[in-house]
């Protein structure tokens, strides 16, 4: 068991990648064998992620040096800096790993019946697993260039998945937009990595953080990195691609794309908290993130009100919810250098934001799966065409209401648990931010009530009389997410203590991340 945990970080990536390439081979022989293989592999990966997360949270930061004699031999004899690729898993990486493992497993189970009639399923599952492997790599790696490579794996497979249904013109357009945005963002990231490498001859995040001098070139690299990651996560001045891509992807894919956005958010946090950390001008950087967050909240919710396409509406709601995370984390960053303020409300704001990341993945994923279920049955995403679906799709409408209430921050669902943490702590930083947050939450509720009343209530139309509940695997996938929403809403303390608090501690504690690579001796 301890050997398994020592090698688990690389096994998680390797098993997912290997299954991705085995999938088409097994798929030629038998569909059933292929589906079993994928589910078993992802369940094994989820088990490894949980075991690794438990180990990280109980003991210490997990490092894995690829190709070294021992996994924890980060700096080989005779060298003064790390020269190999190193995977480094701390509380935040483990937290993100859990989110990715849950959502990719749910997405696969949902796709098994949602895509039953489509051709090219072998390719679909290969891309899905590649995307999961890319995201695991992004959050586990301790190396900047490796981060870039995994980001590209995620983007390329994500774009191919969005454009998977080649019969629709709009999904091709969505895939095109996604890959153009991703390609530009990741090339700019590589440019910034080049700027950092030119000064320090290092690519390892921990080693770079230890030698960071915050020169002019470092500031330019910081600006490029931050804007590229904000572009990838869909923060407001750069959010235009998000609604076009999420709304046209096959039903289960937006849930994964949300997690991919959050992996970019993770990269943004890694850059600002760990790579730059104490050298950074925290209050300026913090306020920039807060303003991006406020704009995202406001623009996201106002654009959502206008939409008549259900998935597009949920996509704008995603922009709005990521604004909440950015505000919470921005407040945390702004007071990072002030221990008094950090204890009073900074840690709590970051706790709220990190907790909101997993909640966001759960309820937004559920809403997208419900929208996919409606599309699966009636073949349209236009709200004006829908009416009275609640008469026949009872369970689906209840699940939609659950996701919508959680997203609007109504107790006792999980959205409330994280939003109340953000409101309370941000109020002590600046009361106006909390007021805007509450206003945005109320508008979110209004948006979803519009959807609920136009799609699920009303007279049952003759043309939708034969509409039935969706098949069992799809319902099961939605219920897993719904159970998560209720559980996280009822027992927020448990989740906070076990996975959220370690993640926040890892963000604040830059020294521990550096020490895990460089050794405690300077």
């Amino acid at each position: 068991m301890s050997t398994l945990i020592a090698h688990s970080s690389i096994l998680i990536i390797a098993v997912t990648l290997a299954t991705a390439f085995l999938t088409p081979l097994v798929g030629i022989a038998s569909k059933r064998a292929r589906n079993t293989l994928i589910v078993l592999a992802l369940a094994f990966v989820a088990f490894l992620v949980v075991a690794l997360a438990r180990d990280v949270m109980l003991n210490q930061i997990h490092v894995y040096t690829l190709g070294a004699a021992a996994p924890d031999l980060t700096i080989p004899g005779g060298a003064i800096v790390p020269v190999r690729i190193i995977l480094e898993v701390d509380g935040l990486s483990a937290f993100m790993g859990i989110v990715i493992a849950i959502v990719s497993l749910v997405a696969v189970i949902y796709s098994m019946s949602a895509l039953k009639t489509e051709t090219g399923q072998n390719g679909f599952y290969t891309l899905l697993l590649l995307m999961a492997a890319g995201m695991f790599g992004m959050v586990f790696t301790g190396d900047l260039f490796n981060l870039f490579v995994f980001l590209e794996i995620t983007s390329i497979s994500g774009a191919a998945l969005i454009a998977f249904r080649t019969k629709f013109a709009d999904s091709q357009e969505g895939g095109f937009k996604y890959i153009v945005v991703s390609a530009v963002a990741s090339l700019m990231i590589l440019f910034a990595i080049g700027l950092l490498y030119s000064q320090y001859n290092l690519l390892n995040i921990g080693a770079l953080a230890a030698t960071m001098e915050y020169t002019m070139l470092d500031r330019i690299a910081l600006v490029i990195l931050m804007s590229a990651f904000v572009m990838k996560l869909g923060g407001v001045p750069l959010h235009m691609w998000l609604s076009d891509t999420y709304s046209v992807a096959p039903a289960s894919i937006p849930a994964l794309l949300i997690v991919a956005s959050q992996a970019s958010l993770y990269a943004l946090l890694r850059t600002s908290f760990t790579l730059y950390g104490v050298t950074l001008d925290q209050s300026v950087a913090g306020w920039i993130i807060i303003i991006v967050g406020l704009l995202s909240m406001f623009v996201g919710v106002t654009m959502a009100i206008l939409q008549t396409d259900i998935t597009r509406l949920i996509a704008y709601n995603c922009v709005c919810e990521s604004g909440f995370m950015l505000v919470g984390l921005g407040v945390g960053l702004a007071v990072l250098a002030d221990p008094g303020a950090l204890d009073a409300f900074g840690t709590m704001a970051m706790n709220g934001a990190v907790f909101h990341m997993i909640n966001h993945a759960l309820f937004e994923g559920l809403l997208f799966l419900v929208a996919g279920a409606i599309f699966y049955r009636i073949g349209t995403r236009d709200l004006n065409q829908m009416c009275g679906l609640g008469h026949t799709m009872k369970l689906t409408s209840v699940l939609f209401l659950l996701g919508a209430l959680a997203s609007a921050g109504i107790p006792p669902f999980n959205g409330f648990a994280s939003k109340i943490l953000i409101y309370e702590s941000v109020y002590q930083f600046n009361p106006i931010l909390t007021m805007i947050g509450i206003l945005v939450s109320i508008l979110t509720l209004a948006v979803f009530m519009k959807v609920f009343f136009s799609a699920f209530t009303g007279a049952s139309l003759p043309r939708y009389r034969d509409v039935r509940e969706v098949p069992r695997p799809m319902v099961a996938a939605m219920i897993v997410l719904a159970a998560g929403i209720i559980f996280f809403g009822l027992f927020p303390g448990l989740v906070l203590d076990w996975i959220v608090q370690p993640a926040t501690d890892a963000l604040v504690n830059q020294g521990a991340y550096i020490d895990a690579i460089m050794g405690a001796v300077p």
């Binding site: 013109a169 091709q172 357009e173 890959i179 090339l187 206008l306």
Partner: protein, 118 residues
């Protein structure tokens, strides 16, 4: 030849290429030209990385018994090679999507082929 140029000349070239790539991406409407813009952007980053590691009169870093003191940095070359491979994959995917868009809409003009607004 290389001795007569100022030392930072390749960096200037890389930045000019970067500017051309961004200009194409922002102001051109033809989808094929957008793909070209991304390719030019990629080339400018590759040129930048290679220039970082280049030392005038340096040797290629392929020896176990080092013949001279001055060597070219190998790490940036590895980064460039990876970026070239990724660039090929990206271009192939984007071009296949452009073909699909053309088949559906009959145009390569991004304003005319656009289906989603707002």
């Amino acid at each position: 030849m290389i001795h007569s140029l100022p030392g930072n000349f390749p960096f200037v070239a890389a930045v000019v290429l970067l500017g051309i790539g961004l200009y194409i991406l922002i102001f051109r409407r033809n989808l094929i030209k957008i793909v070209m813009g991304i390719a030019i952007l990629g080339s400018s980053i590759n040129l930048f990385l290679i220039t970082l590691g280049y030392r005038i009169d340096g040797d290629a870093p392929i020896y176990t018994e080092v013949p001279s003191e001055l060597m070219v940095l190998p790490v940036v070359q590895a980064l460039t090679l990876t970026n070239i491979v990724i660039g090929v994959a990206t271009s192939a995917l984007i071009l296949s999507l452009v073909i699909r868009i053309y088949r559906h809409t009959g145009t390569l003009d991004s304003v005319k082929s656009r289906r989603m607004k707002g």
